[in-house]
């Protein structure tokens, strides 16, 4: 989230699109209700299904699964043509005025630089024009034909209401209702908050769904505003934390890059490539401090062994050759390229796409280690459970080791919520039986492997043996030790610019501003610096005082970065420092520095200076044009899901799906077509369950006992079933049988001249647990994912439905 949960109450319009917070985030959803009751806000839900969130909405707008970009670019088209733009914000705080290279182009579904063989772009042309000093050229009048504003206007001009209706299936009348509500928040004293979750990310165009809304929020002047922002609702209690710590296969903690084998032979080359260059004179470009963050991370990894002479251990890092994400790994496993797997914190069989592929892959392993509190489907993938898991155990030679682990309440530690708050929690009970904490399991394996190498020797042991491991009990690092390490400490006395010692050797740092690139500081995750200072554990603070009345509670826990609650908060004021809306005043200039109810996301540049609010960006402004940062284009564009019910892209039939999506043969050979699988399926979660976990809990099992799928009354009539009947749902990849829930909440849509039916499939059942045994929904899904993140397309694929 750029903002945070409580801040939702400040919105005038809450738009839920790509999420279903009433069901997936019922506790946080209280703040959407609060906005309605106490702030007169409207709630709008845009979704293929009428959900329990929609039940609370003032307006519900239906669209076809997988067409969000068309809808959102249609909204941008509306905002521009009806002049519903926060002009002063756009002119000063976005890259609308920046000139783009003349060789940048978009033709027939492809941006310039496409290489069809590699299914990838050369992104060189997706860049600004630079002057002789190396700074970006701009046209503040926004009249230059190559300025971002005019390119954006041109790009979205195709997304007229009738195109939206034709692709999304949304009536022009309902689309207009949505546009008008959103447009109202272009007023400087009105804000819209965007709440999204997996309904946007789980598409082959997932990241671009979010980009499209980010553009809208910039045009409306809603970024940096209390009650505004782009707010990702994270699923697990700590999925924000795992993201912060490097969930991507090419990422290190704090959104730093893992070096690549090919491009980064040494530390100097690496840092020169990844450290962003300043593009506008006088701007902050805070990522220019990249070498300090990265060197401190290496010092945290390798301690005294990391020296300037050996590039601080740079060569001990694993270098990536290809994107070794989980979907690539499963394909490689299926191809017999892996012989072992440690599976921790995920139920692969139930939660990964294409469960049949997962079974084929796991069956190829020599050994599988499953670290989990429960006896789950993954550790039992080799067991025969009749139609629910019809395998032959005799033919599977994989040896499975189960390491029982603790649940969240059985250990202390920090968790990071969607609003970036690091909240300390305390242990409530001991781990039962033979269970061990996750750190104990992982450290135990690490120490055992280390001992083997020490005793027997081996190749390339430096990364393992040089790792800094200074814990009181090396077999079980404590959460306190690890979180203090994340915060970082001084390895020598640190002096300020005047030579005064500000931090003594060995002391905890008070923030990432103290990090150095000379090896005198160590920090395990630079954005967490400030969470455990010499003043103690900031995450354990529990003062809920709210001096602004805007719900900022600066004394409750600790938010990264630097306890800042609303990112880009300088943008809540005009260039002179006056709040766009006096009721949302967060910061003010006290004559010397910015101060206020939040930690300023800015420097000490005074009001009226040329420094712009987006200090993390190398151009200092919000990006309507993303330069070369996205895989499939600097502007979002509509591409159909890899399994499309219409089999074409009405905008450009030659480029139907995301041209940069990775297509591995293991998956493309199992893609279905609409003649065989005519209906659009989408999978999702229900309030009553958490993924495949809570089916092990009787209370949850009571509230949603049995697998089902939701279909419209028209589809039910067509296939001859009524509510409560058992139906068979099939995709190219597998077949499941579930109960039918026939509902008015899903409607047949008219898309590109044909009828499109939607099948809603909750994912919570399997062959283990207290619920009625059920088929795993992921037998149906495809393992093709977003071109930037490789998040699988769980939200739009093709199926057929029959009465069972």
């Amino acid at each position: 989230m750029t903002n945070h949960w409580v801040d939702i109450k400040n919105a005038n319009l809450v738009v839920v699109m790509g999420g279903n917070p009433a069901e997936a985030h019922p506790v946080g959803f209280r703040w959407a209700i609060d906005a309605k009751i106490n702030n007169g806000a409207k709630l709008m839900v845009i979704d293929p299904r009428f959900t329990r969130s929609a039940a609370q909405a003032d307006e519900y707008v239906q669209l076809r699964a997988g067409t969000d970009i068309t809808f959102l670019l249609g909204v941008i088209h509306y905002l521009i043509t009806n002049d519903k733009i926060q002009h002063e914000y756009v002119r000063n705080y976005t890259n609308a005025s920046f000139l783009v290279r003349d060789d940048f182009a978009f033709n027939d579904g492809l941006f310039s630089g496409y290489n069809a063989d590699r299914r990838a772009y050369d992104r060189t042309s997706w860049a600004y024009q630079f002057d002789e000093q190396g700074f970006a050229k701009r046209d503040p009048s926004l009249t230059h034909p190559r300025c971002v504003w005019n390119l954006l206007r041109e790009h979205v001009s195709r997304y007229t209401p009738d195109v939206v209706e034709n692709i999304c299936g949304t009536s022009q009348e309902r689309f207009k209702v949505a546009c008008e509500l959103i447009a109202e928040t272009s007023a400087p004293d009105k804000t819209m908050t965007s709440l999204y979750a997996l309904g946007w990310t789980e598409h082959t165009v997932g990241a671009q769904n979010i980009r499209a809304m980010a553009i809208i929020q910039l045009l409306l002047g809603n970024m940096g505003m209390p009650g505004g922002g782009i707010n990702a609702l994270r699923g697990h209690t700590n999925v924000q934390g795992i993201t912060d710590l490097g969930i991507m296969a090419t990422a290190l903690p704090g959104y730093l890059a893992l070096p690549s084998e090919r491009a980064h032979p040494d530390l100097r080359t690496f840092l020169s490539v990844v450290t962003p260059k300043l593009q506008v004179q006088g701007q902050v470009n805070y990522w220019g401090n990249y070498p300090k963050f990265f060197t401190s991370l290496l010092k945290s990894f390798y301690g005294d062994k990391a020296t300037p002479e050996n590039d601080f251990g740079f060569n001990w890092l694993p270098k990536w050759d290809r994107l070794n994400d989980f979907m690539y790994t499963m394909s490689a496993m299926e191809d017999g390229k892996l012989n072992g797997c440690i599976c921790q914190g995920v139920n692969v069989l139930a939660m990964f796409p294409d469960s049949n592929k997962s079974i084929r892959a796991l069956s190829k392993l020599k050994y599988l280690v499953v670290i989990d509190p429960l006896d789950n489907e993954t550790s039992a993938f080799w067991e025969n459970h009749g139609e629910f898991n019809d395998v032959n155990p005799a033919s599977i030679q994989t040896e499975v080791f189960r390491l029982p682990s603790s649940c969240f309440a059985e250990e202390e530690g920090s968790r990071v919520n969607s609003g970036r708050w690091l909240q300390w929690h305390w242990k409530g009970a001991d781990v039962p039986g033979d269970g061990r904490n996750d750190t104990q399991n992982i450290a135990g394996i690490m120490m055992a492997v280390r001992r083997l190498y020490e005793q027997e020797g081996g190749k390339a042991v430096e990364p393992l043996l040089n790792m800094s491991w200074n814990y009181a009990n090396p077999e079980q690092p404590s959460p306190v030790e690890v979180t203090r390490e994340m915060n970082g400490r001084a390895l020598a006395d640190l002096a300020d610019a005047n030579g005064n010692i500000v931090v003594r050797k060995g002391q905890q740092l008070s923030g990432f501003g103290q990090l150095r690139d000379d090896g005198t500081t160590a920090c395990g995750c630079w954005i967490y610096s400030g969470s455990w200072t010499e003043a103690g554990n900031q995450m354990a603070r529990r003062d809920n005082a709210d001096p602004s009345g805007l719900g900022n509670t600066p004394g409750w826990a600790w938010a990264w970065p630097l306890n800042r609650r609303v990112l880009y908060n300088r943008a809540s004021m005009d260039p002179q420092g006056n709040p766009w809306d006096p009721k949302r005043k967060l910061l003010w200039w006290n004559g010397a520095v910015w101060t206020g109810y939040d930690v300023p996301d800015f420097t000490a540049a005074p009001p009226g200076s040329a420094v712009t609010p987006f200090i993390m960006q190398q151009d200092g402004v919000g990006g309507l044009f993303a330069q070369g940062k996205m895989a499939e284009g600097p502007f979002p564009e509509h591409y159909e899901p890899v399994e499309s019910p219409i089999g074409t892209n009405p905008l450009h039939p030659n480029v139907v799906v995301n041209p940069a999506a990775r297509l591995m043969e293991n998956d493309t050979k199992n893609l279905g077509t609409p003649d065989e699988f005519p209906y659009v399926a989408t999978t999702y979660r229900l309030t009553e369950h958490f993924h495949a976990l809570t089916k092990a809990s009787k209370l949850n099992a009571i509230t949603q006992p049995e697998a089902f799928a939701e279909i419209s009354e028209t589809l039910a009539k067509k296939v001859g079933v009524k509510s409560g009947d058992t139906i068979q749902i099939s995709s190219k990849r597998g077949v499941i049988k579930v109960k039918a829930a026939v509902t008015k909440r899903i409607k047949k849509l008219r898309v590109n001249g044909q009828d499109v039916e939607t099948v809603g499939i909750p994912i919570h059942w399997g062959f283990k647990g207290e619920t009625v045994k059920g088929h795993m929904a992921n037998r149906l899904t495809t393992a093709i994912g977003d071109a930037n993140t490789q998040t699988p397309e769980f939200k739009a694929f093709l199926v057929n439905v029959k009465k069972a």
Binding site: V6, P26, D34, I37, N38, N544, L699, S723, V742, K744
Partner: protein, 292 residues
């Protein structure tokens, strides 16, 4: 009584559980269920199950979200979902069902055993299972079809508004748990005031018939609903529009009661009438079996 502040949407963070407070036992209490901000999450069902330590059997899906499918001796509150489509606009009306704690409780009026069903001064209606003979009259007496007989011990069970918590100055477990504050608890007067505010807000959003459900036919209730369509409560999974206590029950407690002293004959006669007029308790046993 002081209302647990946790239940107001006002603080950025949850207050800690308040210390037990001095409880004014005569003050009328009420639970206000605001169906218009209920998200149907069933946290109240689970909280009720945990606090009161019962577990119904794991059932089946029959094509709807209602699980358990009905109230039972081990399901004192359930969510009911109804899809209503009018003028092209769909509404998914979700109602938490359970004992209404009537001011004139039909169950208590019907009960032949003195003290087996009690009404506290604050309005809470509670079944004292130790005294319950399992005759089932209360089931017939209830205009909301709430009390359910346990087929094993034959006694009748229903929501007691967490009377144990209320006497310790705490809100019922459902209200404590509700994530959107759709379930509020406090003095009946305070709850009516809050309901009026909510109804005014709903009217401003175009729900012209928004209103409070506090039906007169049973003397008002200590569990009240805010409804978008107070003119048509039946849209909310058959919430009765004008609930009244069956004349048969009134007859039994009126004309027959003096005769009751002579023996069991009257009781059997009434039982026979009850079976003929309302249907047997056994029907609920059947229901239970279906859920097994």
């Amino acid at each position: 009584m002081q209302v647990d502040k946790h239940h107001y949407v006002s603080s950025a963070t949850n207050a800690l559980t308040p210390a037990p407070q001095k409880y004014v036992y005569q003050q009328e209490v009420a639970k206000l269920i605001d169906t218009t901000i209920c998200i149907g999450c069933k946290a109240c069902q689970v909280a009720c199950s945990e606090w009161n330590d019962y577990r119904p059997d794991v059932g089946h899906n029959v094509g709807v979200y209602d699980n358990p499918a009905d109230l039972g001796p081990n399901a004192w509150t359930v969510m009911r979902y109804n899809e209503v489509e009018e003028n092209g606009k769909l509404q998914w009306l979700i109602r938490k069902d359970g004992c209404m704690h009537c001011e004139k409780p039909g169950c208590q009026i019907a009960c032949p055993v003195p003290g087996a069903i009690v009404q506290h001064a604050n309005g809470i209606v509670d079944i004292v299972q130790d005294l319950c003979t399992g005759c089932g009259y209360c089931i017939a007496g209830c205009p909301f079809d709430v009390p359910k007989q346990n087929p094993i011990d034959k006694r009748v069970y229903k929501c007691n508004l967490c009377v144990d918590r209320v006497f310790a100055g705490q809100a019922p477990s459902c209200a404590k748990t509700c994530p959107t504050s759709a379930i509020m608890f406090g003095s009946k007067a305070d709850m009516i005031t809050r309901a009026e505010k909510r109804i005014a807000e709903l009217k401003s959003r175009g729900f012209a018939n928004a209103g409070l459900y506090d039906p007169e036919g049973v003397g008002g209730t200590h569990v009240m609903y805010v409804l978008h369509h107070a003119d048509r409560p039946e849209l909310y999974s058959d919430l009765p529009k004008n609930p009244t206590i069956s004349p048969m029950v009134r007859f039994w407690k009126g004309a027959f009661k003096p005769l009751a002293a002579v023996g069991f004959i009257a009781m059997f006669a009434a039982a026979a009438l009850h079976y003929i007029g309302v249907g047997p308790v056994a029907e609920d046993d059947e229901e239970e079996k279906k859920h097994d």
